[in-house]
């Protein structure tokens, strides 16, 4: 009888160990080092390209990314200082928010430049404890100006400063935001708009940066409608910027519109649209142009269900969201690309899934990249000048706004359907559940670039990979001990 009891106990203990043992192993295996280099992270994916000889992944030597800057001797054409503070502040509409400001407000000042001008921004951290950076979302800046803490620079500590310099790209709509503890700092105010004006701007040119503060939707920090004067018969441009973690839709009542630019790149041959909404993905931009009716009737651009930009005098009625959404895949007129996506040097796959597991010791349902949890994710490795094709697949049950730093990519097809409209260049792509996008770009901006989900909570949970150029290294490290936490 005691022997039976002992045997029973032994079996029970063994069964327990069989369950707890693997869990404990997975837990300890997921713990991140206190300090680590992005270059040692995950595994190199060369996309079928040749090994460049010197191993850029985890290797030493090579060009330091800190040397990748704009012309140091060139004087700045547009120069300003942005001072960040962590404080309780008042929105334009009077509501108070516990968050972050730039030059005393949120959003920070709209930076305006002309194509080719050298923009110089001095970022000063007054008192933000976790440190800050600025990332120029959609601007293909030199790598050292990209503002990713622990990858292209150290986070700017309280009392410190950092100077960003870059040449303004072709006219378009962009934005800037912190890339240090970004899921917290962006949600709570550390961002602003950046626009590069065309040689002859339209009569009415409005930035409409939409953001949720404490769950309250705002346009340019105001929870009321934005009214803009627009004379009958003139053209008005509305630059929609979505700084949130989820996509939002916009639609126009009172006149047809044209979608003239996506993510800071002009659409070729945009045609008038009157019965469809435009989806602006998280981090994405969409520029609408509206020919104001000769009758003098006002036009309403609705952003989500809550707020509008009202062009002209009066209060046009609200309308329900159109059943159809404008599909950029077939919108506008085709135009030749400056490169041949068919002759790709590298072919990558970025498949997003979801499964239970541990990330840095925390259990949960986590996003995977090609089946792996962070940090065991691919390091997409390219050489300068490569033509790169990438298949982005989302099999994770939720939408992901995928954002590649330092490059614009073009959509070739979605779910096997080829793009037939204007070349659809993007830096932020709304990849819905079950969707598969083929994209292509030219690796023409060397450095180490984040390629992540711009639902910044997802990025913080590990939905972040990197694009690395062979022969480049970063001296910066991230991890709990380093004070650098880019997501």
């Amino acid at each position: 009888m005691p022997r039976i009891r002992q045997a029973r106990l032994a079996v029970a203990v063994t069964a327990t160990l069989l369950i707890v043992g693997p869990l404990a192993w997975l837990w300890q295996d997921s713990l991140l080092p206190q300090a680590y280099s992005i270059m040692s992270m995950g595994y190199a994916d060369r996309g079928g390209g040749a090994d460049g000889g010197h191993d850029g992944h985890g290797g030493h030597g090579g060009h330091d990314v800190t040397a990748l800057v704009a012309d140091r001797d060139r004087p700045a054409d547009v120069s300003l200082t942005l001072t960040a503070r962590q404080e309780r502040f008042r929105l334009a509409s009077g509501r108070t928010v516990d968050g972050y400001t730039l030059n005393g407000g949120s959003p920070g000042p709209t930076i305006t430049a002309r194509a080719g001008q050298l923009v110089q921004v001095r970022l000063v951290n007054d008192n933000v404890r976790d440190g800050i950076t600025l990332h120029w979302h959609g601007v293909d800046v030199p790598n050292a100006e990209d503002g990713v803490a622990g990858v292209t620079q150290d986070a700017v500590r309280p009392g410190g400063e950092f100077v960003y310099r870059f040449v303004a790209p072709a006219p378009g709509t962009f934005w800037y935001h912190s890339h240090q503890v970004s899921h917290e700092q962006v949600a709570r105010g550390l961002f602003g708009a950046l626009m590069v004006l065309p040689p002859e701007p339209p009569a009415t040119d409005v930035v409409a940066l939409t953001h949720l503060y404490d769950g309250v939707r705002t346009i340019n920090g105001d929870s009321g409608d934005l009214h803009a004067a627009a004379a009958p018969g003139t053209v008005a441009r509305v630059r929609l910027i979505n700084s949130d973690n989820g996509p939002t839709s916009a639609w126009v009542a009172g006149a047809p519109f044209r979608l003239v630019a996506v993510d800071g790149t002009d659409v070729h041959g945009p045609t008038p649209v009157s019965d469809a909404s435009v989806l602006v993905t998280a981090g994405g931009r969409a520029d609408l142009e509206i020919a104001m009716p000769d009758s003098g009737a006002p036009v309403r651009v609705q952003i989500g269900g809550a707020l509008s930009v009202v062009l002209g005098a009066g209060e046009p009625p609200r309308v329900a969201q159109p059943a159809k959404a404008l599909d950029p895949l077939g919108y506008g007129a085709p135009a030749p690309l400056a490169f041949d996506p068919g002759a790709a040097d590298r072919v990558f796959r970025y498949e997003i899934g979801r499964r239970p597991g541990f990330v840095n010791g925390r259990p949960g349902m986590y996003w995977t990249i090609n089946g792996h949890l962070y940090p065991d994710v691919p390091m997409y490795t390219v050489a300068e000048g490569d033509v790169v094709r990438m298949t982005i697949v989302n099999a994770s049950s939720e939408v992901h706004p995928m954002h590649l730093h330092g490059h614009h990519a073009v959509v070739l097809s979605r779910n096997g359907v080829r793009a037939t409209g204007s070349p659809w260049w993007f830096d932020s792509l709304n990849v819905g559940d079950g969707e598969r996008y083929e994209i292509a770009f030219v690796a023409d901006n060397p450095g180490i670039w984040a390629d992540h989900c711009h639902n910044l909570k997802h990025a913080a949970d590990g939905l972040v990979a990197h694009l690395m150029y062979e022969g480049y290294t970063t001296p910066f490290v991230l991890g709990a001990k380093t004070g650098n936490s880019p997501e």
Partner: protein
Amino acid sequence: MRTVYKVLAYIVAAEVIVQAMMIAWAVAGLGLWVDGGGVFDKSVMESEQVPFTEVAGIIVHGLNGGLVIPVLALLLLISSFFAKVPGGIKFGALVFALVAVQTTLGYAGHGLPVAGLLHGGNALVLFATALYTARRVGRATAEPSAEPARDQVAAQG
């Protein structure tokens, strides 16, 4: 250990009640908020900044269902190895399996709404099973044939 097993099973059943209450509370709060002019979209859904109090129901539902209940079910299963309840391992494993199914259906529902339909039904199956698992502890051990039954479990184990 038998008490631990029994209490854990009761807690799992109680947690199912909490889950149902939380999600119904959140949906009611959402309805009222929209009625007052609020707009619920993906950005609000992804925002951790709470536009209405009852959204806490969704957060609690997610934490409970994604972490707390699976851990409780795992502990129930482990306690069953030691509890010497006749048939206890079988029911511990059944509750654990139902929790696994429930969690999977819950997450799958984000992309496949019909999984949400089954999630609602499976919740009641899980509740009934967890409750039965707890209540049969006393009965199973009070039976006169308790001793041989326990040996059988050992042989199975």
